[in-house]
Each structure stands twice: as C-alpha cells, then as structure tokens.
C-alpha cells in the first residue's frame, strides 16, 4: 500500500512559502545591517577629524593622547586641551562652536569608544609606545590603523601579511603575530596578557 505525503505537503505549501520568505528576509536584514551599519565607525558628538589634525597638520599623536607614554590607557584629551588651540583657530566653524558650548557649560564631550579590548585582556600603552617599542618599529598605526587618513575613526585590524583590515575588531592573533615577530620575552605566555 502506498501512502503519499504529497497531499500533506501541498497543504503545507503556503505556510512553507511564508516561512521561507521570513527566513530569507532575516538573512537579508542581518546582511544589510552588517554591511551598511557595521557600527565600527560610530558617529561622534563632534565631527572631529583625525585626518585634519594628525594627517594634514601633522600633530603628533601624543600631543593630545598624553597618557600613552606613561599609563595603561592612552587617555582622551581634556576639553581644555581642545579649547587651548581652538580659542584662536577656526573659531567660526559650526563644530568648533559646538566644542565651545561644551566648554562654556563645563561639560565633558561624550566621545564614543571605537577601539576596545575585553576586560580580561591586560594591555598597557606605556609598554607599547616605549622607546624600545619605537625602535622596533611599533607605531600607533601598527594597531590603530591609518588614523591620519580617517575623518572618523574606524575599527581597523591587521591581517597576518600586515595589510589593514577595515571594520575587523582586534583579536588575539594580532597580539600574538607581533609578539612572535619581535620575539617578545614571555610574549606568548598566557599570563602576560590574561592576569
């Protein structure tokens, strides 16, 4: 005796069509978000351009990120630091006016963090911008990407061949590649970073 499941499937066809379309839509939605809204270059409260400051005007990184050479965190410049220059420079631009309104209200600028490491990674800037690291050719750009070309900061990593990979967050491989390449003492010990 033959029992056909075809009539049953036929009855389910409309539901399957709807389900399939729903799933396809899900994929499209996900892809669209990942492609057009990657979140790797968030809009900042002030349209600050690293291209103008670090690129065109060649202001050294550590002129503003003063803590990098002596602290674990590179530090964001205080509002007063920005105002120090912009009291005189480009005072009429709308973004600078915005800056001055923060300054006059004595409010900090709520910058959005772009580059981030998980809390279980112990990273210190001090060590990586030391004279020794510089001699080994480690620049800020080595990890942070070509910041001086970016108007808005964007998550950037590096492939194993050294090319920049935009919108790719840092992973352990980035650290290890470099530590291996420079033969860092204890550079591949777990406890060097995970302590």
């Amino acid at each position: 005796m033959n029992v056909s499941i075809v009539p049953g499937l036929r009855a389910l066809r409309p539901a399957a069509l709807v389900g399939g379309t729903l799933f396809l839509g899900l994929l499209v939605g996900y892809w669209a978000n990942a492609t057009w809204y990657p979140g790797t270059s968030p809009e900042q409260p002030i349209e600050f351009s690293h291209r103008i400051h670090a690129g065109e005007n060649e202001i050294p990184c550590m002129y503003c990120h003063t803590q990098a050479r002596r602290s674990i965190s590179a530090g964001v410049p205080s509002v007063s630091k920005c105002v120090g220059c912009h009291k005189e420079i480009a005072t009429e631009r709308p973004q600078i006016r915005k800056l001055m309104s923060y300054w006059q209200n004595e409010e900090p600028i709520p910058w959005i963090k772009v580059h981030d490491l998980p809390d279980f990674v112990h990273f210190t800037h001090k060590r990586h911008v030391s004279a020794y690291a510089r001699a080994a050719g480690i620049e800020c750009q080595t990890c942070h990407g070509p910041v001086e070309t970016m108007d808005r900061i964007r998550v950037t990593s590096r492939a194993i061949d050294g090319s920049f990979q935009l919108d790719t967050p840092w992973e352990m491989g980035l650290c290890l590649n470099c530590h291996r390449q420079h033969q860092v003492e204890h550079g591949t010990d777990c406890w060097t970073c995970h302590k």
Binding site: T21, G25, N33, S78, V79
Partner: protein, 759 residues
C-alpha cells in the same frame, strides 16, 4: 510564473518585511555595547588616568597612629599600605589598617544628616539638611549658654589627638562646660597611672623592643592589640632576626596564650591578677642575688621582703625555680626590658602591678637606654590622655544624666552603649538626656539612640593631624589629608564643630573657616618653633614637604638621667586581686581580650575583618568561649557546644572552643562581636562579653578591672558549628609535624651530600 493570488502576495511581502526587520535588529542586538570615553573638562593636576597616585596620611583605625600610604586611581581609594617614612609603621600595616577602604566604601555609611522622627531606637529617621541639623543643635546650645547652663552640655568623643582635640577643648570651654570626655574601652589608664607614679610623666615611654635581648611581658599582647602592635611587630622581628649574632628572647606571662604568647620563646601562665606579685618576686631575687647595687638598695630589700620566690610561687602558681630562672636571665642579659599591660593591668591591683613591672626595669638599669625603656619628650601637639574618661568618670556621667543634669550630649565616634558593661546603665541614662547628637559615620548602638545625626567624613576624606602616643623616643607629628573627595553629604568632624561655633559666635576663639585652616594654623606654629627634619624658610614649602612625606619628626634623643623618688619605693607592693562574684557560685574567671581583627568592636562592620580568621583559633564570623581541655572534659563539653556564660551582671551564650593554652579556671572570650546595630555585617553576630562584666574597678584610676569578673558556665544541650579554617590541632598519627632529636639532626647533617648551586 505561477499565478499568485493577491492575498498570498501580501502574505509573502509581510513575512519578508518582518524577516528583514528581525534580521536587522538581531545583529543590532548582538553588537558590542556602546561605551563612552568621557574626558575631563580640565585635566586634574594631581592624577593622570590609569596611573596610581599615592597619598601619605594617618591611619585612624586604632590609637597607635601609624602613617599610611594610600593608593588612589582616578581619585578613588584602591589600597592602603604603611608609610615607609613614618617611624611608627615604617611601611608596615596591620589587618585593621588594611581594611580602611571598607570603612570608606561601606554600604552602611550614613549618607547625610538625619533626625529621629519616632521613638528613640525605633530606627525612624528623616533626612534633613545640614543647615537644619546644625541650627537645631546650635539653637539649643545657645539657649543653654545664655542661661549659664552650659555645663549641661557634654561632648563625648573617642580618643582624638592633634588639633581636633584642641578644637574640642576650646568649643566645650566656650560653651561654659567642663564636660569633655574621651572614652575608649581599651585606653590603658592603669599604665598611664603607673608611669606617672614611677617616672612622674603623664605620657607613655617608648618600649624599645627592637634592640632588646630579653623581653619579659606581663600580660601585654604587644603583637596583637597592645598600644602600637605594628611598631611592636617591627621591633619583635628585628630583635629576633635583624641582628646577625643576637637573637632576642621573649617571655610572655599571661593566663591565656595570646598571639604574643604564641610567638614568645616561653609562655608562663600565672594566676590572673598575680602578675605583679610575680614581678616583685623577680625583683626580690635580683636584690638577693646582688644584681642591683644602687644606693637605695636597702630600701628595696625592705619593701620587697614579703615577696620571696617561694611565697609568690604559691600565690601565682608559677614554680619558684621558674621565677629564679627568669630573674637570672632578666638581670644578666643586657639590655633587657619588662613591659606590662593588657589583662595584667585590668585587675583591681592593675596600677600596683604595672609599677612593679617598672621597678624591674629600674633595678636592672633598663631605663633611658637603647633596648630598654626610652623616655618620650614632650609631644609636639595635643595628645589624648588628659580627657580620657575612666569607668568611674563614665559612672559619674551616668549619674548626672539620671539626675537630669545633662541636657545635650554630643557623641563623636565612640560607642559606649556597646563598650560599657550593661551594669553601668549607660543606655538607660541616655533616656534622660533631652537632646543627643551623634557625629558618627555609622549607625552604631549609641547613634541609633540619637535625636540628630550629623555624620562625619571617614578619616580618608578629612583633614586632621596626629602626634602618636606613645612616641618613638623623639617628637613625631603627621598630617592626615583627604585622599578622596567625600562620597556622601557628610562633613569632617572638625568642620561640624566649627559650623556650630560659627552659629554660636565663637569666632574670636575658633577663628577658622574650616578644619584645613585650623590644622594649617597649628602647623604654622610648629614651623615657627623650628626643629624637625623638614627645614624650609617659607611655611608653604614646609607644609608641602610635610604633606608629601606624611610625617614630620625631630630625631633627637634627650638626656635621660632618671632619679627615683624615694617615696616611690615605699609605695611598692601588690595586693592580691579582687574578683567580683563568689568563687563557689562563679568558679571561672572571665578573660575578655581585644580581638586582633575587630579590636573593641569598631571593625565588626568590615567584612574583610569578619572573614579574617582569628590568629589563635582560626574562627571566622562570630564569638566563642575558650576553655582548657581539662575544664571542658570536666563539664562534659566539646567544641561547638553552646554554653551560657553567666556573671552576677548578665548572661550571654556562645559555643565552646577547646583551647589548650589557657589556665583551667580561666575562660576567655574575644571582644568585638555582638552588635545590635552597626550595619549588615556587624548586626546579630556573636555576643559581646563586655556586656556581662562586673563593675569592678581599679581604685586608684577608677578604670574598669575588665579581667576581674567571675562567671559560671551552664551547658544548654544545644550545639552550634564553629566556622573556622583550621582543622584538628592534633597530629592524630598523620605524621604532619616531623620531628628529629638533636643528636639525630647532627648525624643527618654529616651525611647530607654537599651540592653546589651553579652560578
């Protein structure tokens, strides 16, 4: 292309749209959460993000006055260590001091001024503003002062030193009151009195444990809780291991082995209260053997005639041979040092006992020299002792309050409801006082009964200064600076007093706008007086140097030529101790001791210290009764059996801890637990042995003879598991502690192959 119905088309479009939306939000929801980088508006000068900033200040957890260095990050306190430049702590710190951040960040801190709205003790408080609180108190004070009834105001504080003490004095004086009381349960009244009598000095000498070769300690738990434990521990370490060819010997005489007893070379249990007799027997032997050849030798022989080693041996329970051995070693090992305090001073004969200990130092020539007892010079600033209230003074206060003679009580930091025996009736007397103001940072038992609470900063948030007592043989002062901005709407104690003073127009005597001003002004005088290791022309640079170093000192040793007044010799003698309660009804002597971690209970609200095992028993959280195994066996008790401990003045219940190093007729209990208030970590945990102490006093000082209460033990038949980290104290055949005889040891040494460590 199949025909598709309109309905189906709409269905598919709908499903597709919902899918796209859901997909979009799915990814949105799993993105890394947005974090902000908030910069400073103006970069602070005193710290950098991500970098530690260390501030030197003063520890206020006990009365020792150690210097501390506080590690802060981004303006927040992270860790406390000892200040290496401070001569008292020299870079070290005890557990109590280390727990300081938990005072600052304690979740039970009072966050702003409060007013009692219900019955006292109901816990119903309403928030008020500082202005309301200060005005309410100031108005009442103003009325009393105007009616010339200022003496009905009492300021009852914990022992404070430095310019805050001076501020208190002036404030109370301006009110027209004489009632400025400092009350601390552990203040060594008898030690001060004994030194006053023997040396004629109103301050403690410096006990040079560091350079001594032989230490006789009569009841002073100098490593655990006596006067300045961190400094004593440093001295102990140096005496034992700091000198290449000398190892100091330490003998501890006490009825229950304390931390110091455990660290000593020899622990001798004399009957409670007979330590002074033992000291005099040692003195007797020193004289009879001719170790002492001073001009007043005959006087000493006459006064000590009744204290022969054999007679005293019978009274103390210490064999005569032991006394002779101690006396020979004490006199022949130079420099040696005898110290006394703790339980030995807390008996009805406390002062006489400690005078006898001083006599030992005199007879073998330990006075004024390194490794002995060094006299301290005049402290550079105000000290605490002059206003310290003894038990008798507190009883007088209670009596006055009962009669309605106290109308305003301002309490600062001290907690007498907890640290006075219930026999004193302090809590009941508070009911007769119309206005009680508390300046405490926490809702302790006394503060819970207050009408107005004006909470103080913790010591890590306030300005202050300190002149350690006992000093270290030369003048030392230290400034306490705020290491963090205030967390809550609290004010420094000094600023509260100054706030009241301003409302009461006391500007001519208390001209300062803030405590910082007051401290600076005081230190300006120290600068003008000159001296010390910081020498600068301008006050500002002096002030900066003192703040940076955290301490100021003047390392000069004064000439110490000590001549003993003959009348002192005639007054030497120790009576047998008196105990409260008949020995038939109450067969045991209660030996309450200060907890190494919780001190007198002030640290019971700090979870780090609650969970820190007691060094001798390894018990955490809770109370216990220490009992000799023989006693426990006689009563049919084992560890964890709940017993009632009953004195003529009360009863408490605690589990038994079988402790081999205690005399059979003595039971010991740690002080510190048993709070009814004082926050979530302290409340309803253990019992407070102070509660049941009998009001037995040392007659000369009026201080509480806290080791002179007799108790009885009744088994309840119930059990409570003791929470402790230690396992069994016996080896039980597990061969954990391997031993070897001396002969065996040298034989083994000869057969050990010599291995050379490659360089």
């Amino acid at each position: 292309m199949p025909n598709i119905e309109r309905r189906d088309f709409l269905k598919l479009v709908g499903a597709g749209s919902v899918g796209v939306g859901a997909g979009f939000y799915l990814r949105e929801s799993i993105k890394h959460p947005m974090e902000h980088l908030i910069p400073h508006v103006v970069a602070p000068e005193d710290f950098s993000t991500g970098i530690d900033t260390w501030y030197n200040t003063v520890c206020s957890m006990c009365a020792a006055g150690c210097g501390i260095s506080v590690r802060t990050r981004e303006g927040r306190v992270k860790k406390i260590e000892g200040n290496p430049s401070h001569p008292v702590s020299q870079g070290r710190l005890c557990a109590l001091g280390q727990a300081g951040p938990q005072v600052l960040y304690n979740p039970d801190r009072l966050t702003g001024p409060l007013m009692q709205t219900g019955e006292r003790g109901s816990g119903a408080f309403a928030q008020i503003t500082w202005d309301e609180g200060l005005s309410k108190v100031a108005d009442r004070l103003d009325l009393l002062r105007a009616a010339e009834r200022g003496n009905r105001v009492c300021l009852l504080s914990q022992g404070v030193r430095g310019h805050l003490a001076q501020l208190f004095e002036r404030f109370v004086d301006q009110l027209g009151s004489e009632r400025l009381l400092h009350y601390d349960f552990d203040h060594p009244h008898t030690l001060y009195a004994a030194n006053q009598r023997f040396f004629g000095e109103q301050r403690l000498p410096y006990y040079d444990l560091k350079n001594t070769r032989y230490l006789l300690s009569f009841g002073a738990d100098y490593l655990g809780s006596w006067i300045s434990p961190v400094h004593h521990s440093l001295g102990f370490g140096h005496s034992r291991q700091g000198r290449p060819d000398v190892r100091g010997r330490f003998v501890q005489i006490e009825p229950r082995m304390s931390l110091s007893g455990a660290a000593a070379d020899e622990w001798i249990a004399a009957r409670p209260g007979t330590e002074g007799l033992l000291a005099l027997a040692v003195a007797h032997h020193i004289l009879s053997k001719g170790y002492y050849q001073g001009a007043d030798r005959a006087d000493w022989i006459a006064v000590l005639a009744g204290y022969t080693t054999t007679e005293v041996a019978a009274q103390t329970g210490v064999p005569a041979e032991t006394i002779v051995r101690l006396a020979d070693a004490f006199a022949q090992t130079q420099p040696s040092l005898a110290i006394g305090g703790g339980s030995a001073g807390n008996h009805s004969n406390g002062v006489d006992t400690l005078v006898a200990v001083n006599a030992l130092n005199y007879l073998v020539g330990n006075l004024g020299k390194a490794g002995g007892l060094v006299f301290n010079p005049e402290p550079a600033g105000p000290t605490t002792h002059p206003h310290q209230a003894s038990y008798r003074t507190m009883l007088e206060f209670v009596e006055d309050a009962r009669r309605g003679n106290i109308e305003v009580l301002i309490v600062n930091g001290t907690n007498p409801v907890f640290t006075l025996p219930s026999a004193a009736g302090f809590a009941e007397a508070l009911a007769e006082i119309p206005l009680i103001v508390s300046l405490s940072s926490f809702l302790d038992e006394t503060t819970a009964l207050a009408d107005v609470i004006l909470p103080s900063h913790t010591y890590l948030e306030s300005w202050g200064d300190d002149f350690p007592e006992p000093g270290v043989g030369f003048p030392v002062g230290a400034v306490s600076q705020p290491v963090a901005s205030p967390l809550y709407d609290t004010r420094a104690t000094g600023d509260i007093i100054l706030g009241l003073a301003q409302r009461l127009d006391m500007n001519d005597v208390l001209p300062w706008s803030s405590m910082e001003d007051c401290i600076k002004d005081g230190w300006r005088q120290i600068h003008e007086r000159g001296g010390g290791d910081v020498r600068t022309e301008s006050f500002e640079s002096f002030w900066r140097a003192v703040l940076t170093a955290g301490v100021w000192g003047e390392e000069t040793h004064r000439e110490s030529t000590f001549t003993l007044d003959k009348s002192v010799i005639a007054g030497i003698g120790v009576q047998a101790p008196e105990f409260s309660g008949a020995s038939d009804d109450y067969p045991f002597i209660l030996h309450p001791y200060l907890s190494t971690t919780l001190h007198d209970g002030r640290a019971a609200n700090l979870p780090w210290l609650q969970e820190l095992p007691d060094p001798m028993t390894s018990v955490v959280y809770g109370s216990w009764v220490e009992m000799n195994p023989v006693t426990a066996k006689g009563l049919g008790l084992t560890e964890g059996d709940l017993v009632d401990i009953e004195s003529p003045h009360g009863r408490i219940r605690a589990p038994v801890y079988v402790y081999p190093a205690i005399m059979p007729d003595v039971i010991a209990m740690p002080i510190g637990q048993g709070h009814a208030e004082y926050g979530r970590y302290a409340r309803n945990r253990g019992v407070n042995p102070i509660e049941i102490l009998s009001p037995q006093m040392e007659p000369q000082t009026g201080s509480l003879a806290s080791s002179a209460t007799r108790v009885k033990i009744t088994a309840t038949g119930r059990r409570a598991e003791l929470v402790k980290t230690g396992g069994n104290s016996r080896d039980l055949g597990r061969n954990i502690v391997q031993t070897t005889g001396a002969g065996q040891h040298s034989a083994n040494l000869n057969s050990i192959p010599i291995t050379v460590i490659p360089s």
